[in-house]
């Protein structure tokens, strides 16, 4: 008969080695509880369950709670990333909702700043809401609205069409959708929970190629583009709240119209989608083509190109364009570490510089550059993101065996800070500006950098992760 105590002794012997001494755990735990208590007390609430009933206050509490959570947990998970400029202070914002702090990966999994999954959704095509709190899933004849905080389905809006190219207005009210058969544009009134307008395009309008849809900030103007590879076709529509009216239509090279094209593999592979923007005047479309580095301005009244500049590039398969909420375009080439800024109002390149943030981490970088010219097959990572206030560009770059994230001042490209971590793939900045999520080049590692503390959580996805659902800006 085996004695119960001998089993206990054997189990102790076997499992004691699994427990790493944690002398500071008690102090950290008590500190954590005190911080949580203070947070709730400041809100005038005794219990979180009560706070949940007051949504507005709960939102504020959640933001503070997340900040506390980040500051106390992830340091223990992995430690600090080397920081070259410890005085760097990341610009932050509370303009977006709490859901904007959650990264949604291209496999439609939501991950919080501690590397924990918050939810998953299943849909054909997904995009994020303007405030970051919701995800819109485009399914056949319906739009599903999910919580970005939990991934739970909140609402379903019936729509007429089945298009899968979409853009959300800056005010977050409308969703413009292009595509389907026959080709059509539809406006979804998210606030009202209904399809506000649906109009079929000319039957000759191509579908199924390389296309995109743009919508002005207030939803009053919609631009649909197809065949962007070659001989593109464009339709401009006006939306009055209840109907869509075609204002103009053009095919490149016909009837005196000229439209930008973007031939080659680059845009097809661009994980971030096609880089284009409707400027604040509602009448100017700007396109960037990674294939040849061309930036084009199109007058939507005249339906023709009015200006073009070419951004210097060496590898069309590895460029990352970022539009600011204002009037700037930044193009980052991680292989060469070149950053170019383009003033979209002045229609000119402002600055183009090779930023050497990463060489400080690898003195042999110049040799690696000579021996191994940068190249990436199969996709274009989104390697740059802009801070909420538009003043800092976060980029990830590869240099020999070392990979890092750098914070760049957009005005003079001065390196404000950089961290050595396993990046080199796609990069995403949380809506509050506090957390950088970055994948490695192979997509099998996700690193989460907390800018305030320099702490990093590193996790290994079971399936490759190449990109994130972007937050509209």
């Amino acid at each position: 008969m085996k004695d119960n105590e001998s089993i206990r002794s054997a189990v102790h012997h076997a499992l004691d080695g699994m427990v790493r001494p944690a002398p500071e755990l008690e102090a950290k735990t008590l500190q954590r509880v005190r911080a949580a208590r203070r947070t709730v007390s400041r809100g005038g609430l005794r219990r979180w369950s009560q706070a949940a009933g007051v949504l507005a206050v709960a939102g504020v509490v959640a933001v503070v709670g997340i900040a506390i959570h980040q500051a106390t947990l992830q340091r223990d998970r992995q430690g600090q990333a080397p920081l070259a400029s410890p005085r760097f202070v990341a610009p932050t914002s509370v303009a977006k909702g709490p859901g904007a702090a959650i990264a949604w990966l291209d496999n439609l999994t939501g991950v919080d700043a501690n590397g924990h999954i918050v939810g998953r959704i299943q849909t054909q095509t997904a995009l994020r809401s303007a405030d970051g709190n919701a995800l819109y899933g485009l399914a056949d004849q319906k739009v599903e609205i999910y919580s970005a905080t939990t991934g739970t389905l909140q609402r379903t809006i019936t729509r007429e069409g089945s298009g899968d190219l979409a853009a959300v207005t800056a005010d977050g009210r409308y969703l413009a959708i292009l595509g389907g058969s026959p080709p059509a544009v539809e406006m979804i009134d998210i606030a009202a929970g209904r399809s506000a307008a649906y109009t079929r395009l000319n039957s000759t309008f191509p579908t199924g190629g390389l296309g995109f849809v743009l919508v002005s900030a207030d939803g009053s103007r919609v631009v649909a583009v197809e065949n962007f590879w070659q001989k593109p076709e464009l339709v401009v529509l006006r939306f009055d709240g209840s109907a869509l009216h075609v204002e103009g239509q053009a095919v490149d090279g016909e009837q005196g119209h000229s439209l930008p094209t973007c031939d080659g593999m680059a845009p097809q592979n661009a994980v971030g989608g096609l880089p284009e923007r409707l400027l604040a005047d509602g009448n100017t479309m700007v396109n960037f083509c990674p294939g040849d580095g061309m930036v084009s301005w199109v007058d939507l009244s005249r339906l023709t190109i009015t200006a073009q500049v070419r951004v210097q590039e060496e590898n069309p398969f590895w460029l990352s364009p970022v539009f600011s909420t204002g009037s700037m375009l930044y193009v980052h080439e991680p292989g060469t570490r070149r950053i170019t800024s383009v003033d979209l109002l002045r229609r000119a390149i402002v600055r183009s510089t090779v930023v050497n943030a990463s060489t400080a981490l690898n003195p042999w970088q110049w040799l690696a550059d000579k021996l191994f010219p940068p190249a990436l097959a199969g996709g274009i990572p989104r390697s740059a993101a802009l801070s909420p206030d538009g003043t800092v560009l976060y980029v990830t770059a590869v240099f020999g065996e070392g990979i890092g994230v750098a914070a760049i001042d957009v005005h003079d490209f001065h390196v404000l800070g950089h961290w050595k971590l396993n990046g080199g793939g796609s990069l995403w900045l949380s809506g509050d500006g506090q957390t950088v999520y970055v994948t490695n080049n192979g997509g099998d590692r996700l690193s989460i950098l907390h800018l305030a503390t320099g702490s990093v959580v590193t996790v290994t996805p079971t399936a490759p992760v190449y990109d994130f659902l972007p937050l509209p800006n």
Binding site: I7, A14, G17, E26, K28, Q78, T460, P461
Partner: protein
């Protein structure tokens, strides 16, 4: 047998006294951490879990009845936290440097320990919970039952089955028969 906590302490803590809550919590942190280490096989994640569980315990303190032993109540929160963490992660955490390495087969004791550790880690979470609570944290069957919200008889039966899974030929202690 550890002394039962002062019922007045729970009342004071529930009334909002921070010091009283900390007095209740302090002795629970280390065993909770040891429990989470075994459940997660990841000391760093175990630290996270204990901290998270402590905050949840404070938020749920009103659910703790006066005079009730807070230890199984807190371990229940830790177990739930471990479960949700394991469910929520589809990736593996980066291996830590101090995770037990290769075993020298010549060292019989080390080999036996490693063998037993692997056997425990291969148990399903429910079985591992009762084994860990009873044989590693030395909780009596009554407290294991309170933690896992089962009857003592059910716990005894589960321990019996878990031990059998770990060692098909193991002689089962009389207390579990």
């Amino acid at each position: 047998m550890k002394p039962a906590p002062d019922p007045g302490l729970i009342r004071t803590a529930k009334a909002g006294d921070e010091a009283a809550f900390e007095l209740l919590l302090r002795p629970l942190i280390d065993p909770a951490y040891r429990f989470a280490c075994v459940m997660l096989s990841d000391p760093a994640a175990a630290e996270d879990v204990v901290q998270e569980a402590a905050v949840k315990a404070w938020r749920k303190l009103h659910q703790l009845r006066d005079g009730y032993d807070p230890q199984p109540w807190f371990f229940g929160i830790v177990a739930n936290q471990c479960r949700s963490l394991r469910r929520g992660r589809w990736w593996s955490t980066t291996p830590l440097a101090d995770v037990p390495g290769t075993v020298d087969a010549a060292d019989e004791q080390v080999a036996r320990d490693e063998d037993l550790r692997q056997a425990i880690q291969q148990l399903n979470p429910r079985d591992r919970t009762v084994i860990t609570l009873h044989y590693f944290l030395d909780l009596p069957l009554e407290e294991v039952a309170a933690t896992t919200r089962q009857s003592v008889a059910a716990v005894r039966s589960q321990l019996y089955r878990a031990l059998h899974k770990m060692r098909p030929g193991l002689e089962i202690p009389e207390v579990l028969r």
